[in-house]
Subunit: 130 residues, 2 copies
């Protein structure tokens, strides 16, 4: 049975409060700063659970770190992520979805998975950088 602990809730809340994608390390650090004595391993486990249940999205940053984000829409979708501040926009991508599936099928590949994410600088950060 799946138990309801304040730790899992804390991770859930922290994710909801975050503007965009965050790493497990960062999330743990900010929870600690807020006074929570939660352990690092627990944060990793909670995030993995959330991702497994579809309550959070996970992706790999360009540097290879695993990032997580609270996921409002239950369905499958992709993201437009600011490289600088982490702000995220959820993207509708049915076309691309179908393109990926069709491409895999055309070459006889089965069990297709895909990684489709767009990184960039959001308007605010673009202004700052220029």
């Amino acid at each position: 049975m799946k138990r309801n602990t304040w730790q899992r809730q804390a991770v859930r809340d922290a994710l909801d409060g975050a503007a965009g994608f965050v790493s497990a390390q960062d999330l743990h650090a900010s929870l600690r700063e807020s006074g929570s004595p939660i352990g690092l391993a627990t944060v990793y486990r909670a995030l993995a659970d959330l991702a497994g249940e579809g309550d959070a999205d996970s992706l790999q940053s360009i540097e290879g770190e695993s990032l997580y984000r609270a996921c409002a829409s239950g369905g499958h979708h992709h993201h437009l992520i600011c490289r600088s501040c982490g702000t995220t926009v959820e993207i509708e991508a049915d076309d691309v979805e179908q393109w990926a599936a069709a491409t895999a099928a055309r070459h006889g590949f089965t069990a297709p998975q895909h990684v489709i994410d767009v990184f960039g600088l959001c308007p605010a950060c673009s202004r700052k950088a220029s």
Copy 2:
């Protein structure tokens, strides 16, 4: 100045000989098995250089490992990769390319980069798995 060492050439050759994407670790291991005394750090450096010069493609596997592949066509392109054996097909993706750029622009994002790769089981591995 950029020097021409047998080590760099060995990495280049090993990449050319590989069927699909390989990790730096694997490449180093197979070079060692072939009798080459090349060092691990050197393999990493050579791969980073090749990727920087556009002579190799690099991407992150679903597990987060960095993978490299000799890159024939100089242009920008994407891949369909077998999760099991690493066999790779280069994909034409102009449509998706433009979709990514347009999506970024529509939301005011600048300096767009994207990660678009499809993983699956190639025909041969599909057969084996069933």
